[in-house]
Amino acid sequence: MLLDIIFNAFNGLIAGSFYALMAIGLSLILGLNGVINFAHGGFMALAAYLAFTLVPYVGFWGALVIAPLLTGGVGYIVEQLVVKRLYLRDPLYSLLATFGLALIIQDMLRTIWGAQGLPLAIPDFLNQPLSSTYFFVTGYRLFVMVLAVVSTAGLFAALRFTRLGVRIRAGNKDLETISAVGVNILLLRSANFMLGIVFAGLAGVLAAGQLGLTPTMGDQLIMPSFVAIVVGGVGSLLGSLLGGLIIGVASGITTAFYPAGSEVVIYLIMGVMLIARPRGLLGQEGLFE
C-alpha cells in the first residue's frame, strides 16, 4: 500500500511537472502581457505535433529543441496579429480572442494530423525502467522532471541575470515607468509572450513522449495549470511551479485511494486555498485586481 502511494505520488509529480511548465508560461504572459492565454493548451499541442513531424528528420533531441522554438515563432505571429491589439482593452477581450484561437488551433491540428492519437517516439534508453524490484519508473519520467527543473532554473537565472530578464521583472512591477525610461515595452511584451509559448511548447513535447498526441491534449493540461497559478499565487513564478507540483502530487495520491476523485481534488485544493489564503502560496496582495 505504501509503495502504491509512493508510486502514485511520483506519477503525480510527473503530471505536476507538466502543470508547472504550463503554469510558468501562463504566469509569464499573465504578468507582463496581462492576458490569460487560453490558447496556451493549443500552442502546447502544436509543439507536440511539430515534434512528431520533426523526429524522423532531426531525432528526438533535435525536435525537443526545435519544436518549442518554432511554436514560439507561431506565438510571435499570433501576438502581432491578434493579442497585441487587445493590450489596452478590458481583459475580457483578450480572454475571448485567445479562446477563439484555441478553437482554431485545435481544429487545425485535427485537420492536418487527424483526430486519432499518435505516439511520439522517444529514445530507447529513456524507455527502460530504472528499477525492476520496486515500481515501474522509466528513465523518461525522471528525465521529464530533471528537464522541468533545469529549464525552470534556467528561466529564473535568465530573469535575474540577463538584461531582458531584468526588464521583464521590472515590467511586471511597473510597466509605465520602464516605458518612460526608454524600454520598448511592445517589443518586450512580444519577447515575453514568445518566452511563455516556448515553455508551453517544451511542456507539449515532453507530455507527448509520456501521454501520446491528441488534438485535445492541451485541454487536459490547461485547466490544472490555471489552478496551479491560483494555488501558487498570481505574480509569482515560483508559486506557479510549487502550485503545479502540489496539485500534481495531490492528484496522484488521490488516485491511489479513490481514482474517480483524482481530478476533482485539484479544484477542492483551490477552493480551500481561496478560503484560507486568497492570495495563494506566494502571491502578492492585490495584484491584477
Partner: protein, 326 residues
C-alpha cells in the same frame, strides 16, 4: 447602500420619448417571438431551433447581469447551466413525472450552487476572478464525467423525456411556448433587478468599485448576489435545455460552453439588455448552418470570436446604438 440609493434616485429619469420607443420595441419583439412557429419554417428554421435561441439567450442574459452590468467576468457560468440540466434530468428520470417540478428542482440546484460558490469566487477580482470561475466550473464537469452511476458519465444523462403538463403534450411548438414563457419570466426578473436600487448598485460597482468601497459598501456581497442571480437564470436556461434535448451532456457544464455564452453576450452587445438575444440568434444560426456545411466549424467559430473581439467589441446592438449612447 443608502448612499447608492440616493445617487440612483437622483439620476435623471429617461425621457418620455425614449420610454415610448422602448415600449413599442418591446411590443414588436413580443409579437415577433409569439409568432415564431408561424414564420420560422418559411425561413428554413424549425421550432426547436427557435427554442435553442431563446434558451441560449436567456443564459447569456443571466450572465450579462454579472458581466455587462456588474463588471464580473465569469468564465464558468456553464456550470450552473449544466447543473440545471442535470438536476432536471435526474428529477424526471428518477423521482417525478411532473415536468414543472423537475424544472423547478433543476433551477433551484443551479441557483443554490451559484449562491454558495459566488462568495468564494468573489474573494478575488479582475482576471483572477475569471480563472477561479473557470476552475470551479471544471470541477462540476469532472464530477459529471466521473460520477458514472448517477450522471451517466461521459455518455451524458438520458432516459428521461419531458412529460405533458396538465395533459398538455409538449410537442416542439408547445415546448417553444413554454420556453418563451420562462424566457419572458427570466427577462422580467432581470429587468426588475436592474431597475431597482440593487441593480443601480451593480452598475455602480462596474463603473467605480473603489468609490463604492469608500462609501462603505460591501462590494463583494453585491457581486456575489449578482453572481447568484445570474447563476439562477443560467440554471433555468439549462433546465429548459435538458427538456429540449431530453438529454443532459457533460458538455453542458464545460468551459467551452461558458466561452460560447460570453461570445453571445459580446456579439450582441454587453451593455445592452436585449443584446444577448441578438447574439444568441447569430450564434445558434452560425453554429447550426456552418456545422452542416463544413467539418471545420470550430475554426469558423474561433474566427467569429477573434473577429468580433477585434473589430466589433461593442457587439451588434452597440454598433447600431453607438451614436445615441449617452
Amino acid at each position: 447602500m443608502n448612499e447608492v440609493m440616493r445617487v440612483a434616485t437622483a439620476a435623471p429619469k429617461p425621457r418620455l420619448n425614449d420610454n415610448r420607443r422602448e415600449r413599442l420595441g418591446l411590443l414588436l419583439l413580443g409579437l415577433l417571438l409569439i409568432t415564431v412557429p408561424l414564420w420560422v419554417p418559411l425561413v428554413g428554421g424549425y421550432a426547436d431551433l427557435a427554442s435553442r435561441v431563446l434558451i441560449y439567450a436567456l443564459a447569456a442574459m443571466g450572465l450579462n447581469l454579472l458581466l455587462g452590468f456588474t463588471g464580473g467576468l465569469s468564465f464558468g457560468h456553464a456550470a450552473y447551466f449544466g447543473l440545471g440540466a442535470y438536476g432536471t434530468g435526474l428529477m424526471l428520470a428518477n423521482y417525478t413525472g411532473n415536468t414543472l417540478l423537475a424544472l423547478l428542482a433543476g433551477t433551484a440546484l443551479g441557483g443554490l450552487a451559484a449562491l454558495v460558490l459566488g462568495p468564494i469566487a468573489v474573494r478575488r477580482r479582475g482576471i483572477y476572478f475569471s480563472m477561479i470561475t473557470i476552475a470551479i466550473g471544471q470541477m462540476f464537469y469532472f464530477i459529471a464525467v466521473r460520477w458514472n452511476g448517477v450522471t451517466g458519465g461521459e455518455d451524458g444523462l438520458s432516459g428521461f423525456s419531458r412529460q405533458p403538463i396538465f395533459g398538455w403534450p409538449l410537442t416542439s411548438t408547445h415546448f417553444y411556448y413554454l420556453v418563451l414563457g420562462f424566457f419572458a419570466l427570466g427577462a422580467l426578473v432581470l429587468w426588475t433587478v436592474l431597475n431597482s436600487p440593487l441593480g443601480h448598485t451593480f452598475v455602480a460597482i462596474r463603473e467605480n468599485q473603489k468609490r463604492l468601497v469608500f462609501l462603505g459598501i460591501r462590494v463583494e456581497r453585491y457581486v456575489a448576489l449578482s453572481f447568484a442571480i445570474s447563476g439562477l437564470i443560467c440554471a433555468l436556461a439549462g433546465s429548459l435545455n435538458a427538456l429540449l434535448d431530453n438529454f443532459a451532456s457533460p458538455d453542458d457544464l464545460k468551459y467551452t460552453l461558458s466561452g460560447n455564452f460570453l461570445i453571445i453576450v459580446v456579439l450582441g452587445g454587453m451593455r445592452n439588455f436585449w443584446g444577448p438575444l441578438v447574439g444568441a440568434t447569430i450564434f445558434v444560426l452560425v453554429q447550426n448552418y456552418v456545422s452542416a456545411v463544413t467539418q471545420n466549424w470550430m475554426t469558423v467559430l474561433g474566427l467569429v470570436f477573434v473577429i468580433s473581439v477585434l473589430f466589433f467589441p461593442l457587439g451588434v446592438m452597440g454598433f447600431f446604438k453607438r451614436r445615441q449612447r449617452h
